[in-house]
Subunit: 315 residues, 2 copies
């Protein structure tokens, strides 16, 4: 039995998350609206704590632990935003965080995680090594594993970004998110289907990491195989819980080229003067590529994060 | 007789500017506050139309023209943000804009100005060629010259940024701006001295273009000579009107190194996830360099603009 959050779980998550996370602003750009012919609203999770929406799910998961559970700490494996999110959320709760990181993780990410006082265990950069190492850490410490997306509380937490955007801007014809593991997409789908039953929920995915696209359209789970994309937050395979929600609530998943991800990212940097990471640019890339029709529509887009190495920009 | 705006001129300017410009948000960063030991408030004029505060002054100057004057259009020389600001403001009023640009201006700036339907006259990249060419354009067209800073209405317009920031965040111990020609600094000084008589007004300037620093401390006007700095918005010499206001109302002017301008810019990009141009980073550079003491103080900083060539970043 897979437990799936309902909208009331997202409301509960929001009560917790509000105390720790930013209610990020929603930006618009008349220049980009003119280019695409619709009215776009960008929920700026690049301004969220740790620079990504991942903080929402981590806060909800960690503050939903009982006192007894919490004492043992939390553990996860991640090379990216989820690692920093778990580390900071655990610090805020005052409990230990054990993070398994591939030894080739960018220095900037290692420093961020270490800066939140997490205990880091390095491993070889393969999924198998990450999982084995995490299992050992959990066995040794008794810590609670916080999965980055295939987790009831994480999904409920991620759903609060769309909830805030809808509460602020009221009506949308469609809401678009990127999809990697599916935590944000599934949480967004639950919020949106309750608050705006007629709003379309669309996901955009890099063509080079298109397991969600293929799984959704074939209606059966197809794992990611050698994914390759500049959108490093979207390399993961869909989670089981996430896939179940996506099948029942998402209207469409489309893919985009690497070239358009970079073009969309650059457009946001130049016109909106905000820093987003490549994963954030995937929905706008789908609009530029005309895979999603936004003409004369009100469209919400979640900009998922802003963590990027300034010394390795694609332009 | 040099006419100097009073606070009531800034109020009038604000009534006009509100209709066309964004009331830009004020951002904070707990990460940067921890580093500097004070509470910093950043007025984000990088999100202003045309990507810089210059739009405020241009709107006020152009919408303060009488119908008869306006018909003849406006003219200016600029290679940067003022050119785009005048071009867009003139377009909004429906009158011609004649912009003299050095022929080595960045392509991106030429395109921006042309995109607002301004008529561009190119000239050699010297101040003399710019002034001679502008004089010819004004003679030929009868257009009204809009000086980028030594102009009553421009100064009043630039003063609205500090006015908005003070109205929103109420109290400050000091407000810091960069200084180039002095339009923003003088407008800020007028707003601030009226609204917060005890607030210090401090300017920061690149050491490589320190004419305002030297003029302020010697109390006599010293023109800029071969200025050199990455902060390309601050290469100009102080205007006469601006210097008069600065001498009477500014508390201090300090200089910063190129290295610290780049470090401050990078800090804002990485921690705040917003794009600012080097000129915007000069006040924070002065804080990092400990030229301005912000410990335990509430400090307002105007981030002046976000126009930068992404293919020529200093990191």
């Amino acid at each position: 039995m897979l437990f799936i959050p309902t909208y009331s779980d997202i409301e509960k998550a929001h009560d917790i998350i509000k105390k720790y996370a930013h209610c990020t602003p929603v930006f618009t750009s008349s220049a980009i609206d003119t280019i695409v012919g619709g009215r776009l609203f960008f929920k700026c999770e690049n301004f969220q704590k740790v620079g990504a929406f991942k903080f929402r799910g981590a806060i909800n998961a960690i503050f939903s632990l009982s006192e007894t559970e919490a004492k043992k700490g939390v553990a996860t494996h991640s090379s990216g935003n989820h690692a920093a999110a778990v580390a900071l959320a655990a610090k805020l709760r005052g409990i230990p965080a054990h993070i398994v990181m591939p030894d080739n993780s960018p220095e900037i990410k290692k420093r961020a995680v270490a800066g939140y006082n997490a205990s880091i265990t390095f491993c070889a950069p393969t999924l198998q090594a990450r999982e084995t190492t995490l299992a050992k850490v959990v066995e040794r410490t008794g810590a609670n594993e916080v999965h980055p997306y295939n987790n009831f509380y994480v999904i409920a937490g991620q759903g609060t970004a769309a909830k805030e955007m809808i509460e602020e801007k009221k009506d949308f014809d469609s809401i678009i998110t990127p999809v990697g593991g599916g935590g944000l997409l599934s949480g967004t789908a639950i919020s949106t289907k309750t608050l705006l039953p007629n709003c379309k929920i669309i996901a955009a995915e890099p063509a080079g990491a298109d397991d969600a696209f293929r799984s959704f359209h074939s209606k059966k789970f197809i794992a990611s195989k050698n994914p390759k994309t500049i959108a490093d937050g979207l390399l993961t395979s869909l989670g089981e819980r996430n896939f179940k929600i996506i099948l029942s609530s998402v209207d469409n998943i489309v893919t985009v080229s690497e070239e358009n991800i970079v073009a969309a990212m650059r457009l946001v940097w130049e016109r909106m003067k905000i820093i987003i990471e490549p994963s954030s640019a995937v929905p706008l890339a789908a609009i530029l590529e005309k895979k999603i029709d936004v003409r004369n529509k009100r469209v919400g887009i979640i900009l998922t994060g802003g963590n990027i190495d300034l010394e390795r920009l694609p332009f």
